[in-house]
Symmetry: C2
Subunit: 160 residues, 2 copies
C-alpha cells in the first residue's frame, strides 16, 4: 500500500496530492467517473455516500452526500469544466457546510508499468480557506477513501 503525499506551501492557496495505485489508468478513471463505482470508495470509511446527480461531461454538475449512523450528513457539489478523460479532469467543489467557499480541482492520471499515479491540484479562494480545509482533516479523509479505492481496484483487476 502506498501513502498519500500532500504538499501545502505556506501562504499559497493551493494543495497538491499524489498517490499511486496498482491498476491500469483506464480502471482508475472508471472508478472516478462511474457513480456506482464512486460510491464504493469516495470519502472516509464511516460514511455512506449517496449520489444526487453525477453528470461527468463538460458543463455537467454533480452533488453527493456523505452520511453516518449518527444522523450527520455532509453535502458537496460542483461542475465539470471540460469533458473528463483518462488524462484527468477539472471540477469545481463546494462543501455545503461552508457555503460560498468554492475550490477548483485538477486531477491527472498517469500510467507507468501498469500502475497509475493520481495527482490532484486544488485551488482555494484564499489561504485561510485552504488552511481550514487542511485542518478539517482533508488529507486523512482522502487517504481513507484512497485506501478503499485501492481495495476496489484490486477487486476490479481480479475480476477482469
Amino acid at each position: 500500500m502506498t501513502e498519500l503525499k500532500v504538499t501545502a506551501e505556506p501562504g499559497v492557496p493551493q494543495v497538491f496530492t499524489e498517490r499511486t495505485f496498482d491498476a491500469p489508468r483506464e480502471l482508475v478513471f472508471r472508478a472516478f467517473i462511474e457513480p456506482d463505482l464512486l460510491v464504493r470508495w469516495l470519502g472516509p470509511r464511516q460514511y455512506t455516500m449517496t449520489i444526487d446527480r453525477f453528470d461527468a461531461r463538460d458543463g455537467g454538475s454533480y452533488r453527493y452526500v456523505h452520511s453516518d449512523d449518527a444522523g450527520n450528513a455532509f453535502g458537496f457539489h460542483g461542475v465539470f469544466h471540460g469533458a473528463p478523460s483518462p488524462d484527468g479532469f477539472v471540477q469545481t467543489f463546494e462543501f455545503e457546510g461552508a457555503p460560498g467557499h468554492v475550490s477548483m480541482d485538477t486531477l491527472t492520471l498517469e500510467e507507468r508499468d501498469g500502475k497509475t499515479t493520481v495527482r490532484t491540484n486544488s485551488l482555494f479562494q484564499s489561504v485561510e480557506a485552504r488552511d481550514a480545509m487542511v485542518q478539517s482533516g482533508m488529507a486523512e479523509g482522502m487517504n481513507d477513501g484512497y485506501d478503499r479505492l485501492e481495495e476496489l481496484l484490486a477487486t476490479l483487476v481480479a475480476t477482469r
Copy 2:
C-alpha cells in the same frame, strides 16, 4: 474615471483586481450577465465579441470569441458554479489559445453610495500560468473593457 487596481503577489497563482463604477449594483450585474449588454463592453476595444452560448445559471456554460479586422479570433469558454446573483458569481475560464490551462474567477459586486466596486479573484493552476496571463496583457485588456463598461453604464443610467 477610476483605474483598475491589480494585485499579483510573487509565487502565488492568484490575481486580484478591483475597480469602482458610477452605477448601482443591479445595473452592473445586468451588464455582466445579459449577453446583449456583455458584447458591448467585454474585452479590448479593437475586438468584436461574438457569443456562442452564455447560460448564466448554476452549471450553465459559456463560450465567446473575440475577433479583429485582421482575421484573428480568440475563443474563451467555461462553466458557472452556482447561480450568478447581484452579490457576484464563480466561473471557470479557459483561453482556447492555451488549451488545458483552466482558471477559476470569483467576481463580487459591492454597492456603496450609488457606486459599485467590482472585485475579481482569479486562481490559476500554477504560478507559471498566472505569470503568462499577466504578461499577455491581462490588465490592459481588462482595463480597456472596463472603460467601455463605464461608458455603457453611463448610457444605461441616463436612459433609465
